[in-house]
Amino acid sequence: MSSNIYDFSSLTGSIHSWLSGLMSSGWVIFSEMVLVGLVFLLMYALIGLFLVYLERKVCAIMQNRVGPNRVGKWGLLQTIADLIKLLLKELIPIRKSDALLFNLAPFIVIICSFLAMAALPYAKGLQAIDFNIGVFYVMAVSSLSVVGILLAGWSSNSKYSLIGAMRSGAQIVSYELSVGLSLLAIVVFTGSMQLSTIIESQANGWWIFKGHIPAFISFIIFLIASTAEINRGPFDLAEAESELTAGFHTEYSGIKFAFFFLAEYMNMFIVAALGATVFLGGWMPFHVGNWEGFNHIMDYIPSVVWFFSKTFFLILIIMWFKWTFPRLRIDQLLTLEWKYLLPISLLNIVVIAFIVLMGWHF
């Protein structure tokens, strides 16, 4: 049906054939890998910087302030200036720290977010790798970043860092369950873990509308649990400024600190993109069942615009959380997960399986 959505695979296909005409097949693969790498690196940096700017502006609006407004138009260049400052800063080596692990930790965290980004579909036909286990893969690689955080906390040889790392480890390990179960809900609906298939299945309506109340419940659980998993407020105990200075990255300075900071914002982007893909249809325009005319009009909005607007909508919700709720205590945090979210999502899965078996969903 949605035939007039621009398919990016024609663009990538033409680039491929153009390169194939220029050089031998081995070099084509090599240069394509370099190209894709460059595109991802550029996108990573741009989205990261923009998210930091957005966070400061949103925070400012919530608190009735102006926010950054001096560098560039509306302060748009502020984060770039900050980045230059961080690049020029001195890297302070910590005495009696494990230098190898101390330097390795930021890279582990940032590599994990890169790995997760590779499998996300950005627009129709614009996806680096389309695994047949897409959802599971993204979950798997994003769960690795906790190793980086634990190592960072221990190798800094500081009590603040260690406590922050332990808190964040306990938090990520437990909230991962809820994230996985809430994503599993939609996997049950679709019958596939492939991200492209999940999107195709939403051509006649997004899952959050098609899946009745259980899909909505799992969407809410996903939002809460993923906010906790990326260590953002109100679940940012790992870096609670008032008690732990800055948590696991207290001892980091200069560009290594910037790595942690960037990876945190990119994790937020990845989580929001995954949520948008699974629950809100990814790049799929807003379609309603059999309203052909309406669907046709919606198709004129490019798929990239749909994807990024949904993602940024979720990001805004996550930011809204952070600046609205007070920070939880660690016991409240674990109680919320193990006593409320996990049983609810387990029950939800059973209900969804029943609905799918009876064929009650659209």
Binding site: F131, L150, G169
Partner: protein
Amino acid sequence: MFYMFSGIILICSLLTITTRRILRAAVYLLCVLLATAGLYFMLKYQFMAAVQLTLYAGGIVVLIIFSILLTHHISHLFEKPDLTKLIMGISAAVIGSVMVIATLLTHPFQAGSTTELPVDMTEIGNQLLSTGKNGYVLPFELISILLLAAMIAAIVIAKKDKNKNSEI
């Protein structure tokens, strides 16, 4: 790519057992497991690779690191093993590897004639729960009961006895 991954596996597993810092050993172990996942990705067996990533790298190594962090002597260096133990261990390893390599070299391997199996999630799921030929439902159920028993046991051990606590 294969040589790169196997090189990483070899070097990191050697480092895992030779390093004298316990946390570094865990990190090298993580590298070994990640490289193994890379090998699975090369075989296009993505499900196995993702399971390797979640279970071993994301689950077990994180647990190991956690338990190391919770012990008192994290920064403690392992003692150097005595010479006799060292010689015994190395000789056992050498004999074992010689035997394995000798068997591998003498065994006539035949190229498999079967075509690449489609590794689909639904098929894995059906196979796991099928009662027919080549079905895995019995081992699957047995393992789940074993896991359940293990979890209940863990809870029982971890649960504080209220009466005992009040006496202390």
